[in-house]
Symmetry: C2
Subunit: 246 residues, 2 copies
DNA sequence: CGATACGTTGATCCATTTCAAGATTGGTGG
DNA sequence: CCACCAATCTTGAAATGGATCAACGTATCG
């Protein structure tokens, strides 16, 4: 079996500790996916509070986890291909947030009974699944730090730096940028600010030659300035080996 | 064996799903604790980046998880007795933040080799441990929401409401308040604001009859106003049964 | 009793929100 | 192919929450 296989899960933990999995284990992981779905329009994949019996892996595109109340939408996390978006639903049974698609996405569903089987019979894989939920929590903590510490400019810079690094882990970033289907409103929702202010921040970072965000494309103009502005230290992403972009 | 036993771990998941554990499992859990330590002065229990081979459970007192850079300290999580503070260190091996004591604390250490044994032989308990790290992540998400959505007043109200509920789970809250050894500076660090502004917010909430925070004691004056101001919905804490305080 | 940490208050400045309106873009049907 | 619509992006001006600088009050404890 060539390593070109595993079409649904080949990006899971890529750039992190995926190397620690054997080919057999990678096959078992791929076998978790019972079916696959594609959405082209914005779609709520999962509703807060709903009892779930399967978890979702993002194969292609972007999804966000959001908490919405009286019209306002707060983005709690963003996902890149390879992320096991709501694996925590396996143990929590109901989620404290919604999961929504952004742009065109392809997702795979892993029934909880299959995950349960893995847990009972595959300790290495089980530990890897747990590990991936802990990476998710580590990103949450960094977001808390970012929101407590940084102003809007820094928050956007941090978000861009993080996504660049994460997409790089899964081979979806280039040397000078990446594509990102988020609107300014959505960037604002992820940075805890308003779309109007986000518009001015985007403009400012473009004009000061830090990063250009337009037409769904992010072009990093000054890598060093971006990381400084966002106080970005990728240690919390627990990447392995020499990082190309840091 | 009376339920008065388990002096170190009896509060673990209390008010959550602790009831799902058998007495035997509770005993195994207690057996994880190899030794216990007490600190009376502020102490850094764990340094960011340090490789760890044991995890820490909080038995008594308050600990904070902090990310500090150039003098500024950001509190990303607060813990109450019964919390397995850095269980995620078991799988992550090194932490992305420091763990520090606040006031007088008593903590227990669980060597990773003992946790590993549990994982290999006790699936129910293993799943419970995983579950507890997911509760931690759910609280992170709520903090992200709080920081993105609320102003300083609301953030403090939310923090107070959350701690009240969590302390109530473990029988450490009263009908009208709880004790809390945090300084205004630390409250500020947990709400992403300055100590000066926090001082004004504390004063405002006191004067508007919402909550009184002074001399290490929190007195809730208007439960309903507190929850409204903090946009507090305890669902994310995954408590079970009828909640006395909600 | 002086040291030291913590809490309180005032004045000023700046980042961000809010309200309001206009410009640009992409997609759709006639 | 153009006209139009809706979403997105952009800009301006006024109001405000919170930061910052500076100082003073007040516990608490060897």
């Amino acid at each position: 079996m060539s390593h070109q296989d595993f079409p649904y899960t080949r990006r899971f933990l890529k750039g992190r500790s995926r190397d620690a999995l054997s080919e057999r284990e990678k096959g078992l992981l791929e076998g978790l996916i019972e079916n696959v779905e594609r959405f082209t329009a914005p779609h709520t994949i999962l509703d807060r509070g709903e009892v779930v019996d399967q978890s979702t892996i993002l194969i292609e595109g972007t999804v966000a986890r959001v908490i919405q109340d009286n019209g306002k939408r707060h983005i709690i996390a963003l996902h890149v291909p390879g992320d096991f978006v709501d694996l925590h639903g396996f143990a929590l049974k109901r989620l404290d947030h919604d999961v929504v698609s952004i742009g065109t996405v392809q997702i795979g569903y892993a029934p909880h009974r299959r995950i349960q089987k893995i847990l009972e019979t595959e300790p290495t894989l089980a530990r890897m699944l747990w590990y991936s939920t802990l990476l998710d929590a580590a990103m949450h903590r960094e977001w808390i730090m970012k929101l407590e510490r940084l102003s809007a400019d820094g928050r956007l810079a941090h978000l861009v730096a993080e996504l660049w690094q994460r997409l790089n882990f899964v081979d979806l970033a280039s040397e000078n940028g990446f594509s990102l289907p988020l609107t300014q409103q959505e960037l604002a929702d992820a940075c805890g600010t308003t779309s109007i202010h986000m518009n001015r921040v985007v403009k400012k970072l473009r004009e000061t030659g830090v990063v250009d965000i337009s037409r769904g494309q992010v072009t990093v103009l000054d890598k060093k300035a971006l990381k400084a502005l966002g106080a970005f230290n990728p240690a919390y992403l627990y990447g392995q080996g020499p990082l190309k972009l840091t």
